[in-house]
Amino acid sequence: MLSRLYPHPALSMTLVLTWMLLVNEFKLGSLVFAVFLATVIPLLTAPYWPGRAAMPRPLSLISYVLIVIWDILIASLTAAKVILFYRDKDIQSAWIAVPIDLKSPEAIMILGATITLTPGTVTADVSSCGRVLLVHALHAPDTDAVRDEIKSRYEARLKRIFG
């Protein structure tokens, strides 16, 4: 029953949060209305999200997000350094093919987004089978290191979260 009402709990949670931020009032009434909307809107939009994302360990997502934020902060300094101080010919950009084991589209999306959000790398494409990510690195003298870091630091965690 509940799962039919909330086919995508993460979405509904996000919507509640969104509404509370939108109305900018942390009152009970707003929360009631937020829950109402977070119920109705996903039901209305459900046809566009067929199937159901399995997420056995949703709480791990929080630690994942914190790690990513930290990485963003650190990497942006690196990227800034490259942009500001490297001469053109010193910048060693590279294409990196990153094979992945993730099967859920949601997980692939999050991995791709993480790569892009962390400065210095951009997810540029996916192989037609969805098994390999094409990553472009701004400055990567050692492409294998980048690939390994992606796989170990992000993919591994995502695999745990999405099972």
């Binding site: 900018n24 800034a80 294409w95 540029a124």
Partner: protein
Amino acid sequence: MIWEILVTALIVIGATFGLIGSFGMVKLRDPLQRLHAPSKATTIGVGVSLVAAVIELAIIEKQQTWQELLVVMFLFATTPITALYLAKVNIHRTVDRTTLPPTGVNTGWSTLAEDPAQPPKDS
């Protein structure tokens, strides 16, 4: 006061990163390199500025306003998509395809794939 210093710092940091992003876009030589500049630095810049705004308004001004966080979330959620599309445009239109690494599997990069839905016409 602490908050004010924090806000000031955040604003300065955010603005600096924002400028770096825009500057990188002018400076870098290769389209894909240029893609890195704004998609990161600007996001950081704006993100940090937004956080500054939240702190300023919510904590210093006591206006109880967390709305701007929503904008940050939204920007973070969409930037990867934008970047992906821009990269795909580059791959499709400007990148020398031979420089791309092989996928290592038996299918190619999706951007370069023959369109399954668009069978070639006879004429």
